[in-house]
Assembly symmetry: C2
Homo-oligomer: 221 residues x 2
Amino acid sequence: MVDLRSIAKRYQMGEHTVHALHPLNLQFHSGQFVAIVGPSGSGKSTLLNLLGLLDQASAGEYWLDGQNVANLPDREISAIRCLKIGFIFQSFNLFPSMSVLENVCVPMHYAEKPKDLMRERAMEVLDRLGLKDRIDHKPTELSGGQRQRVAIARALANDPPVLLADEPTGNLDENTGEEVMEIFRELRSEGRSVIMVTHNPEYEDQVDRVISIHDGNIIRS
Amino acid sequence: MVDLRSIAKRYQMGEHTVHALHPLNLQFHSGQFVAIVGPSGSGKSTLLNLLGLLDQASAGEYWLDGQNVANLPDREISAIRCLKIGFIFQSFNLFPSMSVLENVCVPMHYAEKPKDLMRERAMEVLDRLGLKDRIDHKPTELSGGQRQRVAIARALANDPPVLLADEPTGNLDENTGEEVMEIFRELRSEGRSVIMVTHNPEYEDQVDRVISIHDGNIIRS
Ligand SMILES: Nc1ncnc2c1ncn2[C@@H]1O[C@H](COP(=O)(O)OP(=O)(O)OP(=O)(O)O)[C@@H](O)[C@H]1O
Ligand SMILES: Nc1ncnc2c1ncn2[C@@H]1O[C@H](COP(=O)(O)OP(=O)(O)OP(=O)(O)O)[C@@H](O)[C@H]1O
Ligand SMILES: [Mg+2]
Ligand SMILES: [Mg+2]
């Protein structure tokens, strides 16, 4: 399904090069629950952003379902990103001028879902995440963990076949975090792919596969 | 040292009132390492912001070293906030156009520290937190956990007698998080106060006192 071939990511800082990811090979098959772990700064978010088509590699090739992503037209990349992939950002990236409900509806607008179904789906995921009393709040009127849960709800809204989650429980207490893991396990049992960056070592036993990153290199996959 | 008397915080949302904190009484003495725990949305950041003079209560009184904070002139509140309190925000709040080094120097500018001492102190805390190779990066050129560590370094820069930390390890792996806890324990052993909001139940055994919040009420202190 996903085949990264000699994928690398570098940043030029004047004279100095930061190797966020050294050339690596990695394959993913659908329907797996994968954890990506590693120290702070090791390249986890960089890898997830590349997988989610939010960033471009400095070198190497990204083959998705037998096609080289570099050869796809922008319009198609956009469609894959908005319809096939749900992305939960490490820093949430909510739209500050929109309410919680509007934020969750954004991907469904792109998918051109009918208005009533859109609202029903948004309420369903928000209720599941304990946020039904906060639907009219703006992001600045929420706690840190509530913002994280809105980011999660928004990523789930379109029922994507692939969910990419960057530290989705970092701001959540144990019980709320467990509820999120329960949602991820259900997606996995429906045959969807969940790829989750996490610092919580407890989650490593609950997934199908653990990919370990260190200083931009994969040390276990 | 700190005496909160019937302190409450409310938000009016049209017809509806959100009680972020119901009236509560709380006292803190110096030199303690205190953990504030509770579910997402329960009022922890709200309490910490009130303690750190970053926000004003809707009701009740905040007595600091025998003085009612409401009667202090703005200039003095500002001085207490910048010189006596180190604050680590849940969402970091770094200055986006400044480098890591410049961000850490900001509180020391306020304290009018000499330039060479300022740089030396900034390098010392950044090195301790594993960031000496990132001092010229802007916040957007850092990982999530690196930004969190810059926020920690900035709060430590002026050697404040009181450190208020809002989930300071939420984006850090276990080892890096442990290094941060080690710094906090050292502050505690120097007689400074550390008040830390945390979701990590492992830290509860490592502190002097645990304050537990639920739906805006203190249920254990
Ligand atoms: N500006 C605001 N307007 C309305 N409600 C608000 C506002 N700011 C916070 N709240 C509400 O106050 C409650 C407490 O928020 P607070 O940020 O203190 O929670 P918290 O315990 O820090 O949660 P978390 O663990 O998720 O960070 C939350 O339910 C939140 O929705
Ligand atoms: N725009 C950029 N310019 C320069 N270096 C960058 C840039 N973005 C990221 N980096 C560096 O790339 C490395 C990998 O970053 P990444 O965000 O992938 O780490 P991470 O594993 O997600 O860390 P964390 O667990 O702290 O979130 C880091 O050392 C970071 O400083
Ligand atoms: Mg990251
Ligand atoms: Mg909070």
